[in-house]
């Protein structure tokens, strides 16, 4: 098989199987309060781990680009700006920063 097709199908398979398992068995599971609490904490820890240190590699050459973006997004969220607006404004700020960087 063509190399790229093999990569695509292989990745599809190994990604789908872990997603399928909970879908098939979740009904038969009755989680204890402790497990519930553990599952409820996952969103916070997963997001924290997704952001750090990944955000610093948004631009492979300029690590601070990602940091600026994260700080802008956090500041806007702190001021209760709606989600969609935060994403758009952060992208706009970064485009602006990129336009200024060459001057330093």
């Amino acid at each position: 098989m063509d190399y790229i097709n093999l990569v695509i199908l292989g990745c599809a398979l190994v990604t789908f199987i872990p997603r399928l398992i909970p879908a098939l068995f979740i009904d038969r599971l009755d989680f204890s309060p402790k497990v519930e609490k553990f599952l409820n904490l996952i969103p916070y820890t997963a997001l924290a781990a997704l952001i750090c240190p990944g955000v610093l590699t948004v631009d492979n050459q300029l690590w601070y680009i990602g940091l600026i973006g994260a700080v802008v997004a956090a500041g806007l969220a702190w001021k209760k700006v709606p989600l969609g607006a935060i994403v758009i404004l952060t992208v706009v700020v970064l485009i602006t920063v990129y336009s200024i960087v060459p001057f330093f």
């Binding site: 190994v14 789908f16 979740i26 924290a48």
Partner: protein, 207 residues
């Protein structure tokens, strides 16, 4: 976000159809970008597939969380929920108050299709976009994560401490564990959270 992936895939020799099919079939943001980058650098198919397995293993945890909370579901719907659960849909679902499966599927399937559309747009207009614009789009996913996490951090000091611990843990572990670090930090972080976060906050429906 899909546009950035398309840029790398095309560079790695994917046809436009392959680029879009991968978004449809695999549907894993970071996983696809990593796969395309590895293909670009000439990695073997087995290495790429194994890396994808590890990187995407977090969806096992995420879809378990989502399925544990949605109401009025059945197995066929669960399978769809599984496939469309990615970081964005998971984050939005777990931190919102609504636990209807239909609302979740609506949001998550829209996100899936727009990811595919992003790849299609990327294939077409890639050459027209300046690098600074495509680079700036790379921040959008992180902006979303930060925006979702900030209110919880602001509201609850224990959650803020937990987020900080997990972030530091992942920064340290990523030097030793590479791709495994994300899932290990997520699970260890949640285990630490069992001791430092009060039950009341989580059970009040904010999680």
């Amino acid at each position: 976000m899909g546009i950035g992936y398309a840029a790398i895939a095309i560079k790695a020799g994917f046809t436009p159809l392959q680029t879009i099919s991968m978004s449809f079939l695999v549907y894993a943001g970071a996983g696809q970008i990593i796969a395309a980058s590895m293909a670009l650098s000439g990695a073997t198919a087995i290495a790429i597939i194994l890396t994808n397995f590890v990187v995407n293993l977090r969806y096992f945890v995420m879809s378990t969380c989502v399925l544990n909370q949605v109401e009025e579901s059945n197995t066929p719907l669960n399978v769809i929920v599984g496939h469309v659960t990615v970081d964005e849909s998971f984050a939005m679902f777990s931190l919102s108050d609504d636990s209807s499966i239909w609302i979740y599927l609506g949001i998550a399937i829209t996100a899936w299709l727009s990811w595919c559309l992003g790849a299609a747009i990327g294939v077409v207009i890639l050459d027209l976009l300046p690098v600074i614009v495509t680079n700036s789009f790379n921040i959008s996913l992180y902006a979303l994560f930060v925006a979702i996490l900030t209110p919880a951090v602001k509201e609850n000091r224990q959650i803020a401490i937990l987020v900080l611990i997990t972030a530091v843990l992942n920064i340290v572990l990523s030097n030793f564990l590479g791709n495994w670090s994300l899932i290990v930090s997520t699970l260890v972080g949640a285990a630490v959270g069992m001791y430092i976060v009060d039950d009341e906050y989580l059970l009040s429906g904010d999680a």
